[in-house]
């Protein structure tokens, strides 16, 4: 777990440097300070389970078996990336190999989709749990609600982790909901909902494990709210001027990596050893991504349908006269 925490952090730092150099295509959404949630929960899943990460759940996909190269090539929109440059950053997956489902930008959509994966698994007689994450902001979407309505009466093995990082872009959670704990939303469905410390990777692991195994045992969907803080702006152009003074500093003291180091009793030597391993992996990923070509424009017309002949079409002015 420690390795993944460090790797996630290092990838994020490095991506921001690349972003400064104008090498990152499109947006960049930092997960600094929130890494424990992705990693603790991903460790709590079985290999056969399904998971849909959000854009900030880099840690999850790494634990599930995607590589640092996958992350970096996605940021740089390269032909070697999992989506071959078709979709942004964290929007990729591989159901068969890693059980990861590609997220899309419309927030909330993955709750019904993952409910459906749990349903599919059950119909096929397979013992798989489906897990997804949702931001504090996105808990205000109808999709979150409709997915859980269906999942609750169907008693689907779905775990929804509310990653409450206090903000949705510039909007504080107090402007999304009157609730102190968003896990109380579970009461609308008659399902279990608990809240925990999202900056403590071991607590995350323990609570996620409990929810996952309860869901697996037939307990129906589970909501787990994990409190954390988004240490950077929504994206690099956001200077977080709307965050009250001192709050960021207060949360910096609760940094999940530092806390876990304390638990592990790691000294400088151990940290440096992992740091070196991580640096090598990041370096390799960046090098690989930078050296990879952009996709060939000709590919743009392929792959909308299984039958690739439906879309391509010679426009009038390109035909022989």
């Amino acid at each position: 777990m420690y390795y993944f925490l460090r790797l996630t952090r290092a990838l994020d730092e490095r991506a921001h440097v690349l972003q400064q150099q104008n090498k990152v295509v499109g947006g960049l959404f930092s997960n600094q300070g929130q890494e424990a949630i992705s990693i603790g929960s991903a460790f709590a899943l079985e290999k056969r389970d399904y998971v849909a990460p959000m854009i900030r759940n880099i840690g999850t996909v790494l634990v599930r078996g995607h590589s640092a190269r996958d992350i970096m090539t996605q940021y740089l929109a390269k032909a070697t990336s999992p989506t071959r440059g078709r979709d942004n950053s964290q929007h990729f997956g591989d159901v068969e190999r890693t059980g990861v489902v590609a997220y899309i930008s419309m927030l909330g959509t993955m709750v019904p989709v993952m409910a459906g994966m749990a349903l599919g698994a059950r119909l096929k007689g397979e013992d798989r749990v489906a897990l997804t994450y949702i931001g504090d902001g996105a808990t205000s979407t109808g999709d979150f609600y409709e997915g859980l309505c269906l999942a609750s009466v169907q008693k689907l093995a779905l775990v929804v982790i509310i990653e409450n990082n206090q903000y949705a872009y510039s909007t504080p959670t107090s402007k999304q909901s009157l609730l102190e704990n968003l896990s109380d939303k579970a009461k609308a469905f008659g399902i279990p909902g608990i809240t925990g410390d999202g900056n403590d990777v071991l607590e995350v692991y323990r609570l996620a494990k409990r929810c996952i195994e309860d869901a697996r045992a037939g307990g129906g969907p589970q909501i787990l709210e994990l409190k954390t803080f988004r240490m950077r702006g929504h994206a690099p152009h956001d200077n977080q001027a709307y965050v009250p003074k001192g709050l960021i500093e207060a949360w910096r003291k609760k940094d999940p990596i530092g806390r876990f180091e304390a638990v592990l009793g790691f000294g400088e030597a151990e940290k440096a050893e992992v740091g070196a391993r991580v640096a090598a992996v990041v370096e390799d990923a960046v090098k690989f991504a930078e050296e990879s070509p952009l996709p060939d424009g000709k590919e743009a017309l392929q792959g909308v349908f299984e039958d690739d002949s439906i879309v391509p079409f010679t426009p009038w002015w390109r035909r022989d006269a």
Partner: protein, 322 residues
């Protein structure tokens, strides 16, 4: 061969696919013991059990999302909308998640979305809409709209077997009004191919759904004129080749749809003909459509909005004389 109504043909098609392929299952409101609002799935719960006939909560976006997820696990969900108009409530999920999925990350979404569609039934603005172009205009979705029992059965099978999301439109005005002999175990009919319902030399009328039947009435009224009638059957992908081939013969084309004019498939056909057969056009590509209004409730108003047999015949006659 059993004589089947349009509705029975759809029901049989669904039944045969479920028998043949255990990965096919159903989702929707009231489709279980009740058999669905129009009884398309009557008897399915008893035969296939609650594991394959899943009654959902009243959450269109939610159960469409769940169908997509189930498809990701390798199943083939068939989703019923109680009226196709309610597909608007699941719009985001269909155009954004389902439509783009294969293109984005290579994961196809073999879901069939089906439901009662179309006007003419005095059902008012929210149970009569033509929704085909919202989806034909959104990349990654196929849109299918049969006009006869045999086509309905065969095309529904093709949709279910297709590895991409299909929207299957069942004109509710045809459900119990038309009958045809359709063999048990009849094969799937390939998507994307129009059908020449009647050959002709002087004018091509392109249509689909209920309007095919009004068109045939109009053509009968114009007896002695050589009119070719083309049933599109699939709105997306459009069978451009069939339309172009027909106009090469007749030189004149008219489209008939109950959809509202602006942005309907009729415009698309005009554009395709301009681009691919301009030199063959001996007259304007003429559109007979509804005006750009919601479908009103009262019979007099609805009749004033939908293309009538007289409208179709009048337009055809005028174009023939052009």
């Amino acid at each position: 061969m059993p004589e089947l109504t349009f509705l029975d043909a759809i029901s049989r098609g669904l039944w045969e696919e479920m028998e043949a392929d255990p990965t096919v299952f159903l989702m929707g409101e009231d489709i279980g013991a009740y058999g669905g609002a129009f009884k398309v799935t009557k008897g399915f719960l008893e035969k296939f059990g609650p594991g394959r006939v899943i009654e959902t909560t009243l959450s269109e976006e939610g159960f469409v999302g769940a169908a997509i997820g189930a498809a990701y696990t390798g199943l083939r969900p068939v989703v019923e909308f109680q009226f196709i108009d309610f597909i608007a409530c699941a719009f985001d999920m269909i155009v954004n998640v389902a439509g783009t999925s294969r293109y984005r990350w290579g994961k196809g979404v073999p879901v069939t979305f089906r439901g009662p569609w179309g006007a003419g039934g005095r059902a008012g603005p929210f149970h009569s809409r033509s929704i085909e172009m919202w989806f034909a205009h959104s990349p990654g979705l196929k849109v299918v709209a049969p006009a006869t029992p045999s086509d309905a059965k065969g095309l529904l099978k093709a949709c279910i077997r297709d590895n991409d999301p299909c929207i299957f439109l069942e004109h509710k005005h045809l459900y119990r009004r038309i009958k045809e002999e359709v063999a048990d175990g009849s094969p799937a009919i390939p998507l994307g191919r129009a059908r020449v319902v009647r050959p002709g030399e002087d004018l091509t009328i392109v249509t689909y759904g209920m309007m095919l039947h009004r068109t045939m009435e109009a053509v009968a009224a114009l007896e002695g004129r050589s009119i070719e009638v083309l049933d599109l059957r699939t709105i997306y992908p459009l069978d451009r080749a069939a339309v172009v081939e027909s106009v090469k013969k007749t030189g004149k084309v008219m489209t008939v749809t109950e959809d509202t004019r602006t942005g309907s498939i009729a415009g698309e056909i005009a554009a395709v003909l301009c681009e691919e057969a301009f030199e063959h056009l001996d007259g304007p590509v003429v559109r007979v459509t509804s005006p750009d209004v919601p479908i009103p409730f009262a019979p007099t108003l609805e009749d004033a909005v939908l293309p009538s047999v007289k409208d179709i015949a009048g337009a055809a006659d005028r174009l023939l004389r052009y």
